[in-house]
Subunit: 387 residues, 2 copies
Amino acid sequence: MENFTFRNATKIIFGKDAENYVGTETARYGSKVLLHYGGGSIKNYGLYDRVLKSLKDAGLEIIELGGVQSNPRLSMVKKGIDICRKEKVDFILAVGGGSVIDSAKAIAAGVTYNGDVWDFYTRKAVPEKIIPLGVVLTIPAAGSETSGASVITKEEGSYKRAFESEMLRPKFAILNPEISYTLPPYQTACGVSDIMAHVMERYFTRVQNVDLTDRLCEATLETVIGNTPLVLKKPNSYQARAEIMWAGTIAHNDLLGTGRIGDWASHGIEHELSGIYDIAHGAGLSIIFPAWMKYVYKQDVERFAQFAVRVWNVEADFKNVEKVAFKGIKRLEEFYKKIGLPITLKEANIPYDRLEEMAEKCTEGGPRGNFVRLDKNDVLEILMLAR
Amino acid sequence: MENFTFRNATKIIFGKDAENYVGTETARYGSKVLLHYGGGSIKNYGLYDRVLKSLKDAGLEIIELGGVQSNPRLSMVKKGIDICRKEKVDFILAVGGGSVIDSAKAIAAGVTYNGDVWDFYTRKAVPEKIIPLGVVLTIPAAGSETSGASVITKEEGSYKRAFESEMLRPKFAILNPEISYTLPPYQTACGVSDIMAHVMERYFTRVQNVDLTDRLCEATLETVIGNTPLVLKKPNSYQARAEIMWAGTIAHNDLLGTGRIGDWASHGIEHELSGIYDIAHGAGLSIIFPAWMKYVYKQDVERFAQFAVRVWNVEADFKNVEKVAFKGIKRLEEFYKKIGLPITLKEANIPYDRLEEMAEKCTEGGPRGNFVRLDKNDVLEILMLAR
């Protein structure tokens, strides 16, 4: 186990009608709120009205900025920063999934920064102070509701980049599983894929003797794997939706990574995919992760075998560890397929003509991944395996 | 799953030499520190010198109050409150295990309260403001390093009572597994028993559909069960000590109880035992928990069977669920015995002449437990089963 520091102070308010607390929670931190959201789904469900009522009941002034797209854009972030400065906004409320939250985080960090907010994403600067933000979550997936990370796409050059800071953790996250009832099956499955990826990025580590966090990771994966078919069959199952929503937060609040060094190459490669092709992040991950696994599993075949046995109930066979390991990867692929996700570039209608460009961009800041360090050629090989 | 609110903002600093951060962390909150500790072990290990150096290097003024006993006493708390008021202490640093931390919490809450600090423990008052506190942990057991709970014994009448408040959570907890190397086997085992009890109190719930937290509980128990024999065999095993120390915190930081209603009757009954006989809390729990299980398992035999199969690797036998359930309880007892803990009152040399008095005191505030509500007679039955 590695030395670590862990603190996650985001207040979770979880359950039915939890969104009705948004006004009182927000009023602890600000008086003039930027209400940030995406497309129309927030309005369809009636969530918009309830959030607005709660904010107004708490005496808050509200400025709205809707229209965040998936793979959230830098141009929207800049628009948000301008509005916040002009209107002297002192709190940002994200009502949405990871894209909206990540956009809100970027705005929160950018408002008080004199330079270009993109500097944070290119490591040219680190934020010294940010505006506080809160979340009403609509899509269990990104885990951004308690994480200290934000991923933004710069349209010019199709760069999708992440930045992390403890300051980015929201003050509160409101999680009502009922809000996820109306998520279509494909979007639900993409969310599940993202949740699982957050766990697997941490699970595949070279750090030895990480029993507790291994088991917590396995527990989270098993829960998601068990509840996803229930949710797809019965979208209004409160219990199954609740399991997936809470798992989505646990998967990415950094607890599961304590004492470990995560890999994160698959996320890096996927960002190139969705940066260019605007494919859903979860669908990109279901393509990249199995290919990555096939390329790297020999680094620690026993860890992959443990994954197969403990998470996928592959029968333990200690005379054929590699076979066991490979069965685990196969089960993961079968699971992705079963829930309607692509596992090849072909299935996602992604052409093969820009693989080298993606490998190049992915590694332009240096090799990727910690489980195995991947250079441009390695990334290209993985993309070829994903065809 | 039940609705819940969860926030645990304690900053964890975990790993080798972590105590060297105590000065800079403390200096964030105060300038005059009450250094609170127990017996001589803190000095033997050299920890005292390192903590003192770190505090002094950070420019802090230090007032010392050592001598906290296990089952910490109200008289010591009052002494600490007097000192803090007189010396205008603005931060309390607990260096020790659960007893020292609980004593520090009581002092922190009492300093700013005009009445008797015992009022918090009898529910006559709730604290409005407390002095901030921090922890350097020496014994993985109580989980008090991130919990919002404190348990104090009032000598007059031998009352051992708990009180909870979100305010009681320490600002930081410094966890260096090396510090636990010198813990004797019996104290190590008692700590393990306490850790397991914190998980089991949450695990045995009547709330249905709690997959994720079930599995997180099981993961924590399996880790502790697997690493305890290693630690007893090789007290200086950093890796095994680290697993147990981190598990001890996770077990009681409230994450594992999210969406559930825990039971806590066994803790209540044990408090009567250790309130009168001054037995180690963990040893009291290894006596009470199996007896409690035998008395209540019929309430949800399937849950007990799940516990047996998933935690204790009892073979699943769906035609004989009760048998499976009972085997799990037996395995728990065998584990306690293996690590040197008593599983009967007799083994702990506790006479049977005050069982009724304990049952009476335990339930004087009303029935105990949520998995099964226990009145005085139920508690007496459990104590009889524990003979």
